[in-house]
């Protein structure tokens, strides 16, 4: 049963979204032999769903922009829980990483003088997002993919990693299966990079696909890694709410960047009613000024629709709760209204937001150039993640690196739109570079066959359980977990509800041990769901326990029982790890002191 194929690489990258591909490209360029393992086909990862753009202070549209402004914006957006070193590196290196993509074949939209065009986005002071209409993520993943396929890189498509393999503390490989045949594979790597993305599937309403079950986070956790800021789950304010089958699918923030406005059923732009103090100076107080901002007026302040995502999402929840929502439990997002302001508005919308037009036309039978959309919050992104070193992206487990969404730190309590695409470029590159370096300096580890046999045994257990009366369906359990998280650990949280959620998670853990699947190991989604369930339970518990500890409201984390910020919690990160008894432990870790020059930048930009 424990038969498996072996693969050897200097650097093994797990995940083939933007961060994984960027890491692979970098490691290959450094001369390492690289393997990429991805759960789906190449180029299908969630990076394709990123729409609005990639944030980089290139300053092509507004020359006042520079890395310091970007750094300050990121820190403010993250309510200062960020790893400031990552925020600094990110702001400094993003422009180079974006420009470099053009040399690899990417074609961003252009300014009139032929440079990369940049657009406005929530929380960014200046137009900063390089973009291609509203399919920037597709452009990026395709560019990276089309570079990597020509390099010395082996791509293992539709493979899933079950567990990391360790030699002492050091991570030396990964053990997994291929979907096609269900065969086992041992991937040995002198260094490993996790780039597995997020945890959206822990929630019922999400913009994430089946893949986003927190695999990398759970793998790192079980291999001794630490997780930070797990309570900060980002809910994107605008997901589709109707029809039910598409609920959760993302509506890009670019709609608001292009002048789209949010209204309740009374037709009021309710965001004007609640502008947080931290942003009051930067936000327009009338509709006219907000409109001018979206049209590139450098003297205008941004409309409140472009406030940070956590805030906009909470305001939408409030409107709906207080009975001012749209018929299907959302609010209205209106871009069609710009026809009052500009000629050829219809053409303009179709050109600037082609895939949004297409998406609503096809899925909801709605023409966004004529009617407002109905939108509501959807689980979108994990701001926290695996704790890494800011410079090298190495986790607390030696030999294991992490980049992109699965790594935590850059975004603090809340991510700014556009910062994830730049995150995966900057830190994908760094992870690739340092992983290749680590691989050069360290010999391959020694695999313990017993460790591998155990992983394999656990994986096939769901086939071997006797049909008992308490047999559990993996789909049903996953559904229950999603409903629990959605209702009890969602946008608005309380102590009682989260305690209830924890109980439910414990209950689900027990039942998960009884999950049984039909059929054989060949391309069997039932089996895959059963395996993913284990990872989802780990991340759900980490989110829940971290959220319980943070007894305040900050960024994406909002507690009804502690609705305000609390200075004491502003100085710490929640860090989760497996304790000695195997139970998940959360501790508060003080945020390291920021160097004076960074502190000064933040003061200046206030």
């Amino acid at each position: 049963m424990a038969e498996y194929d072996e693969h050897h690489h200097d650097v093994l990258v797990i995940g083939a979204g933007g961060a994984g591909l960027r890491a692979a490209a970098e490691a290959a360029a450094a001369g390492a032999s690289v393997g990429i393992v991805c759960k789906s086909l190449l180029g299908k990862a969630h990076t394709v769903m990123a729409e609005g753009g990639v944030a980089a202070a290139i300053g092509n549209v507004d020359e006042r922009d520079n890395w310091k402004v970007h750094f300050a914006d990121t820190m403010r957006g993250g309510a200062y829980l960020n790893n400031w070193r990552m925020a600094e590196l990110h702001a400094k290196e993003a422009p180079a990483r974006v420009k470099e993509l053009e040399g690899w074949g990417a074609v961003f939209d252009r300014t009139p003088d032929g440079r990369i065009l940049q657009r406005n986005f929530g929380g960014h002071r200046y137009p900063r997002l390089a973009h291609v209409g509203d399919r920037t993520g597709l452009e990026m993943i395709r560019t990276l993919q089309d570079r990597v396929i020509y390099d010395r890189v082996d791509v293992f498509m539709e493979f899933t990693i079950l567990e990391l393999v360790r030699d002492g503390d050091r991570v030396i490989g990964a053990f997994g299966y291929d979907r096609e045949k269900g065969g086992f594979h041992l991937f040995q790597g002198k260094a490993l990079v996790l780039a597995t993305g997020g945890i959206g599937r822990a929630y019922k309403v999400t913009s994430n696909s089946w893949e986003y079950t927190g695999d990398g986070i759970a793998l790192a956790y079980r291999a001794g890694g630490e997780l930070r800021d797990m309570e900060c789950v980002q809910f994107h304010p605008t997901g589709m709410v109707w029809p039910p089958s598409v609920a959760g699918i993302l509506v890009t923030e670019a709609v608001r960047g292009e002048g789209g406005v949010l209204r309740n059923k009374l037709g009021r732009r309710f965001l004007f009613d609640d502008i947080p103090p931290l942003y009051r100076d930067q936000t327009a107080d009338n509709e006219e000024e907000g409109w001018r901002y979206t049209q590139g007026d450098k003297n205008a302040r941004r409309p409140p629709e472009l406030l940070t995502r956590d805030h906009v999402a909470r305001c939408i929840v409030r409107e709906v709760r207080e009975g001012r929502g749209s018929p299907h439990g959302g609010v209205y997002l209106d871009i069609a209204w710009i026809k009052e302001r500009i000629p050829n508005a219809e053409e303009h919308i179709k050109r600037k937001l082609p895939s949004m037009y297409h998406q609503f036309k096809k899925l909801a039978d709605l023409d966004i150039t004529k009617e407002p959309m109905e939108v509501g919050p959807t689980t979108h992104y994990l701001n926290g993640g695996i704790k890494v070193d800011g410079d090298s992206q190495m986790t607390t487990a030696p030999g294991l690196f992490a980049a992109g969404e699965c790594a935590g730190g850059l975004h603090g309590a809340n991510r700014l739109g556009g910062n994830s695409l730049s995150d995966l470029l900057v830190f994908g590159q760094r992870a690739g570079r340092y992983a290749a370096q680590f691989a050069k300096q360290n010999p391959a580890g020694r695999v313990d066959p017993e460790q591998v046999r155990q992983i394999a045994r656990r994986a096939v257990a769901p086939f071997e359980r006797n049909r008992a009366p308490q047999e559990e369906s993996p789909y049903a359990l996953q559904r229950e977990l999603q409903e629990t998280m959605q209702e009890l650990v969602g946008i608005v949280r309380t102590e009682d509800e989260m305690r209830g959620a924890l109980q439910k998670i414990e209950n689900l853990k027990e039942r998960a041990a009884r999950v049984e699947v039909d059929g054989n190991r060949m391309y069997n989604p039932g089996w895959h769901t059963a395996i993913d369930l284990g990872n989802l339970l780990v991340v759900a518990e980490a989110v829940c326990r971290s959220a319980l500890e943070r007894k305040e409201s900050r960024g994406a984390h909002f507690r009804l029982d502690y609705p305000d910020k609390d200075e004491r919690f502003g100085k710490v990160n929640m860090v989760a790890r497996a304790g000695h008894a195997g139970a998940l432990e959360v501790r508060m870790e003080p945020i390291p002191e920021m160097p004076a020059e960074l502190r000064q930048i933040i003061e200046e930009m206030k």
């Binding site: 299908k44 399919r135 096809k362």
Partner: protein, 257 residues
Amino acid sequence: MNSSATFRIWRGDAQAGEFRDYQAEISEGMVVLDAVHQIQARQANDLAVRWNCKAGKCGSCSAEINGYPRLMCMTRLNDLPLDRPVMIQPLHTFAVLKDLVTDVSWNFRVKKTVKRFAPRPADAPDGTWRMAQADVERIQEFRKCIECFLCQDVCHVLRNHQLMDQFAGPRNYVYAASLEMHPLDTQNRLADLKDRHGIGYCNITKCCTKVCPEEIHITDNAIIPLKERVVDEHYDPLAMLLGRLFSGSRNKANTRA
């Protein structure tokens, strides 16, 4: 609207298979993929199907619905006649792995045989280039491709004649076009297109264009313009002569071997 409908889904693997009928509950706005998921969760846990974004952006859930290649996530049930079973089959052109999942690896292998992007030296000292929006728009259309391979599936050169060894297929022509017409690119892929990638096998059925979920005008904007470029360099004596005399006419010549 709470009714049910029958879905006739192909179940099997590379060796054998059959159609099986499943009932699914229908609600408003449902797409075919929703029905497949419902069946998977309630009746057939091991029903193999690929999907990811469920919004027509990743191109994973390609299948043949009532005999026509489509994305399951973008096919609404209210656009289909539900009085007869909805027939769902895997792509015909590629070998079945299991149920609705086929082996599309050939597409990835062929893509690698298209010469990679090679830009001219940077225009500005900071390593950047200048490109006009008008010039990038043409290839931006090709770069919308989500690699769902529906065009490869429907193209009769692959589907009926299985000329995989000689013909790269519409997807790869779109890829080649996105590089060949790139304002920065310096490579020449025309000889490859003619010989290695068999663009001459295309007889312009336009089936690829019809099934493209991204509405890329594959035939008119990618394949035919490439055919015309191949004619320029390999068939048209006048153009070949002029091409030699005025080698700058495609604004690529500075790097032509």
